[in-house]
């Protein structure tokens, strides 16, 4: 530690820190534009010039290392003169169109100009004009003339997002921020550039000109999308969500949010919103009062329970539902006498149910990912499924960690990967077994009995060597591994690998409440009544389905089977915020509130319960689902449904519970039958859930749906498979699975292993197909 003096204040600061760091620590404000605590130092705006005693001229605070005994003046005559001079230069080419600028009122340049700018400009000549460029559906560059060339957006791309999409082209007064010749900005974190831009040069396309910053009230909320639980500021005007920005939380989302978190609010205001309860009578949909709709549902449930039996009732919920909703749903269903309740809709292997010692979780706090030095990530479309966790892994790799990947698709991770084991889905278990074997050899431990007969290949050995050489390793299972038909074996092997190298072992939570669902007991095991899991409920069709936020053709592991079950059911009750396909097979549609219109709790992937309040009133007659379920409980005369707030429900679930005690990744007695390679013949499906198709809200976010990530799915094959079929990339082919087929465009990608066909799930175009895993055929049309 060294001591310096800023404005007469003695400050202790770390060796190697800059004057800016020290000043911020002491709460002394130094004006700046290009400096950002999460980005590298560029010192090109010169706004932070300050006086340092014995230095011959003003120095930039952001780039000057603090030295012992340094005396700094941030407001001396010299410093202020320098700052005013810089301000005058910055404003020379700035249009000063604040009254029509979207950034007006939240603009750093505006604020600093108030403090350091003159009242009038001495510059009377022509200002330069920068033509706008089209860089995609999310960010507007219409007013690039406002840019002050701080390069924050460029550095964000290089350092945080991992891809340099914006850059500064040309030179001197011709310098312009732009993308490579009309290419769009496709990063899944791109929206953060809007926040970073200290002026109004990069603005939010969906939000532009819809509200002024001072008209908006900011309500705290939590992201309902991925498992991270990013903290959000939902900004509201006239009871309508106008935009979403991050709330800084260093332990969770730092100061970023993904584009999915930022722009999916458009889906909340979608014209597809369901605003009135509806009942189907004689094939026609009628709008009815809540009372009538709920009584209809209660009667239906009672009749089935008394007639065919309570076990004919099944409830499915998405893991994007709140803890309270999930808890009340299972309480309702169990109250009726059925244990058929599940939220793990895309899972296919449930053999670890009851063997897992607690709720599967990340195995460590989110922030600890940055400090890992060895990572083994199994079966994860990391960047698209967990944009900000991927960012943390990227930072870890940047500080020297080795990332090892085992997956069925070699997707670009925008970071150096130490070892890449890309194998077909049915070889994943074998690959992990090889790694376990090699690691045992590396550690001179006795290999696990289940991998005795396995021969470790060169990649597996390299991964084992990498893991063994680290001190702080982590083994993480992604969505793909958790949805895999041998998920339990994958988890058991990964756990043993982690145990051997002293690594943290965790599951990357697929959705906002992937951990919360277990705590709420919205699973068919462990509760007072046992029942069927999500897959079984569809395989053995039930007479009644209660759907909470679920769109079966998009949210389920096997949409084909799900739709068959829905169509065959006697009664389907869809609790949904949207009018969707349910109108074809459902009997009752109950409008429920999305996350901005209800209070609730999400338990994120590290087991942190975060409660939030509604930001706006429910649209139309939509009601929070916890209230709907409570009234249903009352109508069914079930005991214990007298909650007066969602907090009361939450306290019943979590009150007095130490969540940490409930989290446990340990698997007991999962057998690993001699892991063979290549079990299946023919092409195997590799299904990702595209980032903007993962949940109901984001599917209706129009701007996100215009991005490259939301493009209509195609079938991607290794080029050798294309040759075998005799088709060219871009041709239309017939893709069939389980007696159904769809026509898709075919693309070649050698990052895909031979013998696999990548066909996305969660998309309307592929919802006619079967399970996310298994064999699939591709033929010429």
């Amino acid at each position: 530690m060294i001591n310096i003096e800023i404005d007469g204040k003695l400050i202790e600061t770390g060796r190697g820190s800059t004057i800016m760091d020290a000043a911020r620590k002491a709460g002394i404000h130094i004006p700046h534009f290009c400096y950002h605590k999460k980005l590298s130092i560029s010192a090109n705006c010169r706004m932070c010039l300050i006086e340092v005693e014995k230095a011959p001229k003003p120095l930039p605070a952001c780039a000057t290392p603090a030295a012992e005994g340094m005396k700094v003046h941030t407001h001396s005559a010299l410093a202020v003169k320098a700052q005013q001079g810089v301000m005058e230069f910055l404003l020379i080419n700035h249009p000063l169109d604040c009254p029509i600028c979207d950034q007006g009122g939240e603009c750093q340049l505006q604020d600093v100009a108030m403090g350091y700018g003159a009242t009038a400009s001495r510059y009377n000549e022509e200002k330069r004009i920068v033509m706008h460029k089209e860089i995609g559906a999310l960010i507007s560059t219409k007013e690039m003339s406002r840019c002050i060339q701080c390069t924050r957006c460029v550095r964000f791309g290089q350092e945080i997002a991992g891809m340099m999409e914006l850059g500064m082209a040309f030179r001197g007064e011709h310098a312009e921020i732009m993308s490579f010749v009309n290419s769009s900005v496709d990063s899944e974190l791109s929206g953060n550039m809007i926040d970073l831009c200290p002026v109004g040069a990069l603005t939010s396309k969906p939000f532009r000109y819809t509200a002024r910053n001072w008209e908006l009230s900011r309500r705290k909320s939590v992201s309902p999308h991925d498992g991270l639980g990013s903290n959000l500021a939902v900004q509201v005007k006239n009871n309508k969500v106008m935009r979403v920005t991050p709330i800084e939380n260093e332990a969770i989302n730092e100061c970023w949010i993904s584009d999915k978190d930022r722009f999916s609010y458009e889906g909340l205001n979608s014209p597809e919103r369901l605003t009135k309860p509806m009942i189907k009578q004689d094939g026609k949909w009628l709008e009815v009062e809540w009372q009538a709709a709920l009584e209809y549902v209660a009667n239906g449930l009672r009749q089935i329970a008394n007639g065919a039996g309570a076990e004919q009732i099944a409830a499915l919920a998405t893991p994007h539902s709140t803890l309270e909703e999930l808890y009340l749903l299972q309480k309702l269903v169990r109250g009726i006498g059925s244990g058929n309740v599940d939220f793990r809709l895309r899972q296919s292997d449930f053999s670890s149910d009851g063997k897992q010692q607690g709720a599967p979780w990340l195995g460590m706090p989110v922030a600890e990912i940055n400090s890992r030095d060895r990572l083994l990530i199994v079966g994860s479309f990391l960047r698209k499924d967990h944009p900000l966790l991927a960012q943390r892994v990227r930072q870890a790799v940047k500080s020297g960690a080795q990332a090892n990947i085992v997956h069925s698709s070699d997707d670009e991770l925008l970071m150096p990967v130490a070892n890449n084991a890309i194998v077909a889905p049915d070889n994943l278990v074998n690959m992990l077994a090889q790694i376990l074997k090699a690691l045992a050899a590396e550690k001179q431990a006795k290999p696990d009995a289940s991998v005795q007969g396995i021969e470790a290949g060169s990649v597996a050995t390299a991964i084992a060597k990498s893991l063994a050489s680290g001190e702080r390793a982590a083994v993480l299972l992604g969505n793909f591994a958790q949805q895999h038909p041998q998920a339990a074996q994958l988890a058991a092997l990964a756990e043993r690998i982690a145990a051997l190298c002293g690594a943290k072992f965790g599951f990357l939570g697929e959705a906002a409440n992937s951990v919360g669902g277990y705590l709420a007991a919205a699973v068919p095991f462990g509760g007072s009544v046992q029942g069927m899991n999500a897959a079984k409920m569809l395989a053995i069709p039930r007479k009644v389905y209660l759907l909470l936020n679920v769109e079966p053709e998009l949210d389920m592991q096997n949409p084909q089977q799900a739709m068959t079950a829905m169509h065959a059911a006697d009664m389907v009750v869809a609790l949904s915020a949207y009018k969707h396909h349910a109108s074809e097979y459902a009997d009752v549609l109950l409008p429920i509130a999305p996350f901005t219109e209800t209070s609730g709790t999400f338990v994120n992937t590290e087991g942190l319960a975060q409660s939030f309040k509604g930001a706006v009133k429910p649209l139309g007659e939509a009601r929070p689902a916890w209230k709907v379920l409570r009234v249903l409980g009352n109508l069914m005369n079930l005991a214990g449904f007298d909650y007066d707030s969602s907090e009361a429900v939450r306290d019943e679930v979590l009150g007095g519970v130490d969540i940490a005690q409930r989290l446990n990744n340990t698997l007991q007695s999962v057998s690993i039958p001699n892991p063979q390679s290549s079990i299946l013949s023919g092409l195997q499906r590799v299904a990702n859930v595209p980032v903007y198709s993962a949940d109901a809200v984001v599917r209706r976010a129009v701007s996100l749906q215009k991005t490259h990530d939301a493009a209509t799915p195609c079938v991607t094959l290794h080029s050798s498979e294309l040759k075998k079929l005799g088709v060219q990339p871009g041709d239309t082919v017939k893709v069939s699975q389980d007696n159904a087929s769809v026509n898709l465009t075919v693309q070649a990608d050698d990052r895909q292993p031979a013998g696999t066909a990548r066909v996305a799930a969660g998309q309307a175009a592929t919802s006619g197909l079967g399970a996310m895993f298994g064999t699939i055929t591709v033929e010429r049309t």
């Binding site: 290089q158 850059g167 500064m168 490579f180």
Partner: protein, 159 residues
């Protein structure tokens, strides 16, 4: 795709730098492209980026930063006339006017037959020979007069 010749030239250049810092060769690579094509199409910038394992935008930044990279076709022979102080004092204005009348084009333009392009240049560091021009950034021609320019153009016409 970069031609085999350019790839060979880049490979030779790459030997000068550490293996993990291939992007050091970007300026040379762009020069090779320009030598072959007379200018640098954006497709070739993307190819250079892929070849050197760097972002396309980073290549574009370099290509647009330096004056001597042509971002559009500048004719078979690009004449760059220095108009900085020494040259102007020694009559660069006359040189430019004469070239413009001989070729029928102004700065930044190309003759209709695609043979000549004219560019305004900065100091070439040879003021003792002012006024100056360069041919394709390679050949320096000094002490320009009308006769000298006629002679240079006659030689270029032949080639």
């Amino acid at each position: 795709m970069l031609s085999e010749q350019i790839q060979a030239q880049i490979n030779r250049e790459l030997k000068k730098y550490p293996a993990d810092q291939k992007q050091s060769a970007v300026m040379a690579a762009l020069r090779f492209v320009q030598d072959e094509k007379g200018w640098i199409p954006t497709d070739d910038m993307a190819d250079v980026a892929a070849y050197l394992g760097m972002p396309k935008m980073a290549v574009y930044e370099v290509a647009t930063f330096y004056h001597m990279y042509n971002l559009k076709p500048m004719g078979k022979h690009t004449l760059t006339v220095c108009t900085n102080l020494s040259c102007t004092l020694c009559g660069a204005g006359d040189t430019v006017a004469y070239l413009e009348s001989r070729l029928g084009i102004g700065f930044g333009e190309v003759t209709a037959d695609g043979k000549y392009g004219l560019r305004e240049g900065e100091c070439m560091g040879a003021c003792k020979d002012a006024p100056l021009l360069t041919v394709n950034n390679k050949k320096l021609c000094g002490k320009l007069s009308k006769e000298k320019i006629d002679q240079i153009l006659a030689e270029l016409d032949q080639s």
